[in-house]
């Protein structure tokens, strides 16, 4: 580095960062794509359009999107209550929001399964209503919502805290009611954070494995998610197929994240 820098340690920190990124992230991920590229386009097409992969992809992306959407609504509500209202137990609830971050996914998986199984605490009521909780696509959705919803709370919460009351006062003094103020003044300010929260929840849900495999029942074509399909390929020592599915999955989710990011930037530009 020819340029003089006042603060020391550029070379060292640059070296460590790039070296560690290289051996832990970049080389292994390129190995994945190189392995997948070893198969021709025809093979790729055959693997990715097989009925089982398509069914798993549909479930993975569909359930993830649905779970992220529901997480966004629930997260907005919970964040609002935690930020705006004082009530007994608020601090404990606030702390417990992070539970899905801290709880190992396997623990979440077996616990949610026991609760939502047809004999479980909630599952039996669902069964009475004719809804199958665990061992169904709905079970997958439940696990993914559990995993995703803290992301929304934690991205929206700081924005709400920093929002201040002036905008709402300005709106009220101009004659707007509470609901109008929420709809036209507060909500637009929260949209970028809600999208970020949605994106984080969505990205996490697509890759989620531990909490889902217990509750889903893992029936091929019905309740099998993509990460599980990858594991299944590995167990049959079909490395190439596993690599192709993984690459396809990564590419699709990167593309989706990129699209959301683009939308985010447009909104940010508008509401800066």
């Amino acid at each position: 580095m020819g340029k003089k820098r006042v603060i020391p340690g550029f070379g060292l920190s640059f070296g460590i960062t790039v070296f560690w990124l290289g051996i832990i992230i970049l080389i292994p991920l390129s190995a994945l794509f190189i392995k997948a590229a070893g198969l021709g386009p025809a093979e790729w097409w055959k693997i990715l359009t097989s009925a089982r992969v398509l069914a798993a992809a549909k479930l993975t992306f569909g359930a993830s999107a649905a779970a992220a959407a529901v997480s966004t609504v629930l997260g907005l509500l919970v964040a609002w209550v935690l930020v705006r209202y004082q009530f007994p137990g608020r601090r404990i609830l606030d702390a417990i929001v992070d539970l899905p971050f801290a709880l190992p996914t396997a623990v979440a998986g077996i616990t949610l399964t026991s609760i939502y199984a047809p004999t479980g605490w909630i599952g039996k009521y669902l069964a009475d209503m004719g809804i199958q909780g665990a061992y169904s696509p709905f079970g997958v959705f439940i696990a993914l919502t559990f995993i995703g919803f803290p992301f929304v709370v934690r991205t929206v919460q700081p924005v709400m805290e920093d929002m201040g009351l002036e905008l709402e006062e300005a709106s009220a003094i101009l004659g707007a009611g509470r609901w109008t103020t929420f709809r036209r003044v507060i909500f637009p300010v929260l949209i970028p954070a809600l999208i970020t929260g949605f994106t984080l929840a969505f990205a996490r849900a697509i890759g989620e494995y531990g909490s889902v495999i217990f509750i889903s029942g893992n029936l091929p074509m019905k309740t099998e998610i993509l990460p599980l399909l990858i594991v299944a390929q590995l167990e049959q020592v079909k490395y190439e197929a596993a690599a192709v599915i993984a690459s396809g999955m990564l590419l699709v989710s990167f593309f989706l994240l990129f699209l959301i990011n683009l939308l985010q930037r447009r909104l940010n530009w508008q509401t800066r």
Partner: protein, 333 residues
């Protein structure tokens, strides 16, 4: 429309923010609430607006004789300009200005065309023609302030309330806008109450100045009267530089005299009945006004201001003895 505030009391927990405040704001006047931070002036403004409520049972706010104490802010018909404007960032300038009209219940809401016309009229009024499609972040500080003003006026308020209207602006913009607001007020004649901590701003702009300190009103009156006839030591100190000189007659209550009211004579001309002797300690003469720091015989310091011409006539230099005559001094006993 006049504003009448009657024995308003406001406490936040154990802290008293307003202590039995009564005030009349005449119809069409431009009144300044002047005081240091923590004096309660912003709380009073917010109570008039309906953003804050006085302690239950403590007093009333009336607009032109009508009691509005229990009327919600949105129905009081006040225009409020926030210190940092509180513009809606995701809306255009025009949408901001139209907001108060578009949130009216559909039975009272003007037709879209009428709203557009009103917005354009207001844009013209605040000299922002053609900027309706911009967003707040594309405007300068002074322009944003005028958008906030136009937004407040759109609902045809009965009174206009401004919280530190120039607080967030640069010195030059501040001066221009101050002058503009005075002219603007004279044109529309709307009863206006504004909060400021800047005495120069209050004295220059307002018809009536309300000096507040420690949750109370210290003095109310036209700017010149408040400046020339301060009623409390706080008012005299807050409205500009002042010397507080102790003498033997009553050491508890000093004499207050402004630097430009300190008369300076040759020591030989001293009248022992009224004058005191001093020496020039420091002299600063760069500028139209010469500033002197004098040391009285008993060791107290005194600031004085002279015109350059007077200084030249006296021919003073550091160390020279002088006689000091305190004209128009105030004493609060």
């Amino acid at each position: 429309m006049s504003i009448s505030i009657q024995s308003i009391h406001k406490t936040f927990g154990s802290y008293t923010a307003l202590d039995n405040i009564s005030l009349e704001v005449p119809d069409g006047s431009l009144t300044a609430l002047l005081g240091p931070s923590g004096s309660g002036k912003t709380t009073l403004l917010r109570i008039v607006a309906g953003l804050e409520f006085a302690d239950p049972g403590s007093g009333h706010v009336q607009f032109h004789g009508e009691d509005v104490t229990d009327i919600p802010a949105g129905q009081r018909g006040v225009g409020f300009v926030f210190q940092h404007y509180a513009l809606f960032k995701h809306m255009t300038v025009a949408e901001n200005i139209a907001f108060g009209l578009t949130v009216l219940p559909s039975s009272k809401r003007p037709a879209k065309k009428d709203i557009d016309d009103r917005v354009n009229e207001l844009l013209g009024l605040v000299k922002l023609d053609g900027l309706g499609k911009r967003r707040p972040h594309e405007l300068s500080g002074g322009q944003r302030q005028r958008v906030a003003l136009a937004r407040a006026l759109a609902i045809r308020p009965k009174v206009l309330l401004l919280d530190e209207p120039f607080g967030a602006l640069d010195a030059q913009v501040r001066k221009d806008l101050r002058r503009w607001l005075r002219i603007f007020h004279d044109e529309i004649g709307l009863t206006t109450l504004f909060v400021t901590h800047d005495q120069e701003e209050a004295l220059e702009l307002a018809d009536q100045v309300v000096v507040m300190a420690n949750s109370r009103i210290e003095q109310v009156g036209p700017p010149q009267q408040v400046y020339d006839h301060p009623e409390t030591p706080f008012v005299i100190r807050f409205l500009g530089n002042v010397n507080a000189i102790k003498d033997s007659r009553n050491p508890e209550a000093p004499i207050f005299v402004r630097p430009h009211d300190v008369g300076i004579l040759f020591a030989a001309e001293a009248d022992p009945a009224t004058d005191r002797l001093a020496r020039v300690q420091h002299l600063f003469a760069a500028g139209p006004v010469a500033k002197l720091s004098l040391r009285l015989e008993d060791g107290q310091f005194l600031d004085a201001e002279l015109s350059r011409q007077q200084l030249d006539e006296l021919g003073l230099d550091v160390g020279d003895p002088v006689a000091v005559r305190m004209q128009g001094a105030s004493r609060f006993e």
